[in-house]
Amino acid sequence: MNAPVKNPCFSRRAILKGGALTVGFALTGSPANVIAQGAVAASRTLDPKEVDSFLAVNGDGTVTLFCGKVDLGQGLRIAIPQIAAEELGINVDKIKFVEGDTELTPDQGRTSGSNGIQRGGMQIRQAAATARKALVDLAAQRLSVKAEDLIATDGEVRSKAGGPGITFASLLGGRQFELKLDPKAPLKDPASYTIVGKALPRPDVPAKCFGTHIYIHDFAVPGMLHARVIRPAAVGAKLISVDESSIKHIPGAKVVRVNDLLAVVADDEWNVIRASRELHAQWSEWNGLPAQADLAAALRAEPGIVDETLVNKGSPAAQRPDGAKVLSATYYWPMQSHASIGPSCAIADVRADSATVWTASQGTHGNQTTFARFLGLPKDKVRLIYLEGSGCYGMNGHEDAAADAAILSRAAGRPVRVQWTREDELGWDPKGPPQLIAISGAVRSDGRILDWRTELWIPKTTRGLPNIPLLAPEAAGLDHVTGVNPGLISQNGDPSYAAESIQVIAHWLKDAPLRPAPIRSPGKPANCFAVESFVDELAAALGADPVEFRLRGLKDPRAIEVIKRTAALMNWQARPYQGASRNSGVARGRGISFVHYKHNETYVGMGMEVAVERASGRIAVERVACAHDCGQIINPDGVRAQVEGSILQTISRVLMEEVMFDRSRVVSVDWASYPILRFSAVPKIDIELIDRPTERPLGAGEAACTAVGAALANAVHDATGIRLRTVPFTPERVKTLLNSKA
């Protein structure tokens, strides 16, 4: 297996040679190189309106891409080079890739919202198309021929009639493009694609399998101190006192305190861990969290709720026709953790006049402003460099760890590496907020939906917030942003199906019990769970087949196709839901759901077959079928991996996950109290990818997550007749419902 793109994270060199930029990478593994080379700034533009911000033609025949979006394991390191190589006319193995470095890459926004390819990739496609046109024009001038008689291919511009070409490097003659991105630069006809659409291997995979991939956790800089932050005993507790003598027996261990930000540092990692365990600190009492048992109901009664009508289509009929079925139901999705396998980690070197922060953040550029503010430095003196961390599925603890490291580095006067513990990660990562969703609606006897009304109780995002508030600047009493950002959690509150009237009302809450943040497909796993469960409830009320019921309400051919293909994968035979067959100890059933992500992105059909063990209440997902249409597919294996991951991660969230807390703090702080999916619970998965090369490419990292909850709940309903409306579907919850039905 070849690795066409070397990992650029680890050491980088940007040198201006006679005006031409050459960037070289070497996977040397030596931290000193990173410091030395990382410190060399390239005087090139980072303006995303300029071609030179995104790509450079190097003297050796390679092309370097400078990408503001980062690879979090979702495969941008190959997908973005595929897009650029295709559009430029060069082999993908000639592409070098630099990601998420505020000094080298243009700001393309956070790598979130499943927009790495559909936004970031399309900017780079347009930059590459502009560059190709410029290279062809240069060749036409030099050869005194018409540009339309030339073609860019294999890193050269050649006559379409054949013969030798002129290399990109010799055409540009050591210059930069000095061109604005041309939104009208012609794009290649997808029918001619030879690189886009291929399942090329991800370049970081071999190093991840040989143990040589350098994660943020493995990175080190000379003179670095190891640090552990001592979290308060309660969420809102203040530090009263610290007994520094309690760690004096541990070699090199010292306390660093900035107001309520308390940490221990040492040269040796194990010694700092020991110090963090043995340090005596006294914190104030605090018990301001709500009672967990009452949380769902309490959301409705929170003070300061502001109502907003998000969707208002048609108007409910004054009188419903005879035979109409009228239903209402309330659904609840709990707070959940990102639960990355590696606790957050970061390294910072903060000097009097500048700062360098190595972080696994999805948003190095956006954080520049945030970090500059709490460090009191000019923005252009703060550099954030992306290094891959453990899985990032939203705004998790990565940025908090980076802020910890930055503030502690300044206090200690040395570079500092902060590594969170498992307890820190599950206890203090920002959480997916709780979501309460009430739906009422009516359906005519022929299956036409009459009126539909969704009410959402969810926290409102503070407008213009660059980041969620970070723990360390808050604790240290530094100037920092305040507000709430759970992401775009109100989308997909309405169904995709035709209805006489549809209303979605948000009851905006001021905050969530624990600091909220976007977590994979923010809010939409819950909203779609509610909407697609309720659709099934309407179908069941009519005795209709769930697939037929859905198809009746849809006109969009792409929507219809994913549902039909999902049904075909499941060998779906039309029938109403079967209800409980009471005799067997294990009840089996099937369920389906459909989501058109954000109503304008990826289409997903999801089918599930489950077995419910009546005695224990345990649900086993036995088979999953998914048809997925994300438009033009850049790399089918990359899409497939994302869909597999979305399905398995969300099955875990739906069956198992809820952050547990008492009145003071999170108590589910290890894998026993916050369990996630294990191998023994992994179902058989069949995925069908629908490639539409002439459509715009859409995100594939999140959409499939949203269809999981309802497909699972609908399958359990089919198997047992019980309707699960509260996540997670724990055995206790299932057993209680089974018993109440018996």
């Binding site: 991840k208 399998c209 070699p251 396998i341 590696g342 899985g391 599925y393 590594q419």
Partner: protein, 154 residues
Amino acid sequence: MAKYNLRINGNAQTVDSSDVDKPLLYVLRELKLTATKFGCGLGQCGACTVLIEGAAVRSCQTSVADAGGKSIVTLEGLGSPDNPHPLQTAFINEQVPQCGYCTSGMIMSAAALLSANKKPSEADVCSALDGNLCRCGSHVRVIRAVMAASGQRG
């Protein structure tokens, strides 16, 4: 400062530690063997799995004192690009890792399985790896890769 003699990836290594309880995980990482990852420090996730005398062991739960005199293999010692272990080849062919943070532990647990059971069933693989957590959802590929490495198509 006590000295401990370990055999790591075939090389004799003398390690100094003032703390008999220092976990092997930190000994390895200080030796720049960073394939072995910290995940929980509780023996619950498997990210730090190494082979000790051929058995899959959580290095966060093994003290340097207990590792003394033993033969330890980490992912770096299992194989290299020039001489890959069949599991490494299979994990690459199947494009298993997403973030890949759990991958080292997965491969080490699977290596212990395959040395004890040359032709495991898929159920055997799931059982052997049930203590290795993955958050990205690479499980189906892990199973396929282990089956492929054992000469069976998953």
